[in-house]
């Protein structure tokens, strides 16, 4: 019987999500300027669902202290209380309010993942564009170095670096950013290689444009579409690896509210048939799926396929 109910709940949730995404798309089309609205009108429901989700997460992260009923690290009651008011999602192993920590998790986990992605992106794409523009031995040196780093599986390499630098939030951000920057470098370099052979780059060089201007004004705008899609995908990877490391107890640590470590702390409840520890894991999965939907749509648009 349990399976039937679960199936019904999932179907119901999908229908509600579909209606909400449809409404959200309709709202976006009327609010946005004409150019954007035209692109949005053809967006699939999955993409608008993705955008709605991302907006929701950003709002929750920004206004966490206003939404959350308690303080992030406050012990409010006995441990593992049931789902009853005023603890709508119960309490965790130390008696902290689960809902509050979920809300603050949006701020900590997503915020750290975003900062890491941004760092990886700035370093990786600038180096990649630079390598492709300069060419020659700089390019060879950087590319072979990145190849060597990429031959080691990402998770294993991050674990190695975390052992060396110790486990703290700062070293987590730097380590993951360094590992992921190699992937961004690869993409940025290969995209830019197709651009630097163009005539307008030649013209810009003859005009005497400097390296920085050449990269930021001539190459970057033309490499933007694949890089933006890559940013979304990279965010998913970073977000998942940070959560995995936090889950393993090597990333963001308590008392900071973080989804990965929240799953770990409360995992014992699952064997008693309580789904509370699945909520933070679900929050991670939901955001990743949403970002993937948006990226999928953008890639489809950029590829120019009409199907």
């Amino acid at each position: 019987m349990g399976f039937v109910y679960t199936g019904l709940y999932i179907a119901l949730a999908l229908i509600v999500a579909g209606i909400l995404s449809w409404l959200f798309r309709a709202a976006l089309v009327t609010v946005m300027p004409r150019q954007t609205a035209r692109a949005l009108r053809t967006a699939p429901l999955t993409a608008s669902f993705g955008m709605l989700t991302v907006l929701l997460y950003v709002l929750v992260a920004l206004f966490a202290p206003l939404i959350a009923p308690f303080a992030e690290r406050e012990v409010v009651g006995a441990q593992y209380l049931a789902w009853e008011a005023p603890y709508y999602l119960g309490t965790d192993a130390l008696g902290r309010d689960m809902l509050t920590r979920l809300i603050y998790g949006a701020r900590n986990t997503v915020g750290i993942a975003f900062a890491t992605t941004a760092l990886a992106f700035i370093v990786g794409s600038l180096l990649g564009l630079w390598a492709a523009t300069v060419g020659g031995w700089v390019d060879q040196l950087l590319s072979r170095f990145v190849d060597a780093l990429m031959a080691i599986p990402a998770l294993i390499f991050s674990l190695l670096l975390l052992t060396i630098f110790g486990t703290s939030v700062l070293s987590l951000i730097l380590v993951i950013a360094a590992v992921d920057a190699t992937r961004v470098f690869r993409l940025a370099r290969s995209v830019a290689q197709g651009i630097v052979v163009m005539d307008y780059i030649e013209a810009a060089k003859l005009r005497g444009e400097g390296m920085w201007r050449l990269i930021t004004r001539e190459i970057l705008p033309n490499a933007m579409a694949p890089l933006v899609a890559e940013f979304g995908l990279r965010f998913c990877f970073v977000f998942l690896s940070i959560s995995a490391l936090s889950f393993l107890g090597l990333g963001i640590k308590p008392p900071t509210a973080d989804w990965g470590s929240m799953v770990k702390e409360n995992a014992a409840l699952i064997t008693f048939g309580d789904i509370t520890p699945l909520l933070p894991a679900g929050a991670i999965a939901w955001l990743t799926v949403a970002v993937n939907f948006v990226v999928d749509w953008q890639l489809h648009r950029a590829s120019g396929l009409k199907e």
Binding site: T46, A148, L149, A151, I152, P153, L155, I156, F157, L159, L160, L161, L162, T163, I164, F165, G166, T167, C236, L240, S243, A244, F247, L248, G249, L250, G260, V263, A267, I270, T271, G273, I275, P277, L278, A281, G282, I284, A285, T288, V289, V291, N292, F293, D296
Partner: protein
């Protein structure tokens, strides 16, 4: 045939070179520290005496390249030194766990590879149907789920009801059938995580070929759609499929880390996580080297197999 041997020889040589570079990176990473390893492990408050003692113990008084060659030479003979946390030889710690990890990875591979090929072919056969769309949406979601989420959902559904154990505590005396039963949930988790990717790539590789003239020819002579795919499309799509299968098998070997922790499975991943939190660098280096070697080996295998699957690459003009 000569060309084949030469190609395999070249790839092997290249693989060995890659491994050598990886070993340099894994070993050299400790040199990135400001100060040295002993200082990092003991913290700022360490006395000069304890620092000197630890340096002596770690062999830090010799130059890096000598230490590297000593380490590599010993590692090649199966001697990875002793663990800093419990002073036991690392080779002993690893040997029993390596078997467990390989067993789990192979178990998951035995389930996921046939499943994903079947689903991929079916999705390509019934493309744009409800089946295809559902499979694609599910696959995209499965790719985006963290492993521990999938694992705990399975625990919630299957272990809670008493079908399978939520902890896979195997030991050396556990029989094969018992092992299959105990490891079912971790293997299923890994299967779900990698199947999605392999299925999508199989479908894409086949569909890419569907516009080729020879496919149209086969269709025009009245072949059934399934036969067109199996006889004409699949053999030509083998190269990308082999590559993505190998990539995912390589992923299985590293992906076990999280899954092993969830199911308290005595494998290499679990050992590595413990070693990272203890900052037991020698153990981490040894396991990283093993994982990286497996990764390189699988990629090498994929490279050779996909070249063999395409006769045109064998007889280069």
């Amino acid at each position: 045939m000569n060309a084949v041997y030469r190609m395999i020889g070249q790839r092997l040589l290249f693989g060995v070179l890659t491994l050598l570079i990886i070993s340099i990176v894994i070993f050299g990473a400790t040199e990135l520290l400001p100060g040295d390893l002993a200082r990092a492990l003991l913290g700022q408050s360490a006395t000069p005496e304890t620092l000197a003692a630890l340096r002596e113990q770690l062999g830090l008084n010799e130059p890096a390249y000598i230490r590297y060659f000593n380490w590599l030479g010993a590692a090649l003979q199966g001697d990875f030194g002793v663990s800093m946390a419990n002073k036991r030889p690392i080779a002993d710690l690893i040997s029993s766990r390596l078997g467990n990890t390989l067993f789990l990875a192979l178990y998951a591979a035995a389930m996921s590879v046939p499943l994903s090929l079947l689903l991929g072919v079916l999705a390509a056969l019934w493309r744009n149907s409800l089946f295809d769309r559902t499979a694609n949406a599910l696959a995209l979601s499965a790719i985006s789920f963290p492993e521990f989420f999938v694992a705990y959902i399975l625990v919630f559904w299957l272990a809670q009801a008493g079908f399978f154990p939520s902890m896979s505590n195997v030991n050396a005396t556990t029989g094969f059938a018992e092992r299959l039963y105990l490891c079912f949930l971790p293997a299923l988790t890994l299967t779900l995580v990698v199947t999605a990717h392999m299925m999508r790539m199989t479908r894409a590789a086949i569909i890419n070929l569907m516009a080729q003239p020879y496919i149209e020819m086969a269709r025009l002579k009245g072949m059934s759609p399934l036969r067109v795919i199996l006889r004409h499309a699949l053999p030509n799509a083998l190269a990308p499929i082999i590559n993505v299968v190998a990539l995912n098998l390589a992923y299985l070997i590293t992906g076990v880390v999280v899954v092993e922790v969830v199911f308290v499975y005595p494998g290499l991943g679990q050992l590595m996580v413990d070693a990272v939190s203890n900052r037991d660098i020698a153990v981490v280096q040894a396991i990283a080297l093993i994982f990286a070697a497996a990764y390189v080996l699988l990629n090498l295998l994929a490279d050779v197999l996909s070249t063999l699957s395409n006769p045109r690459l064998l007889h280069a003009r």
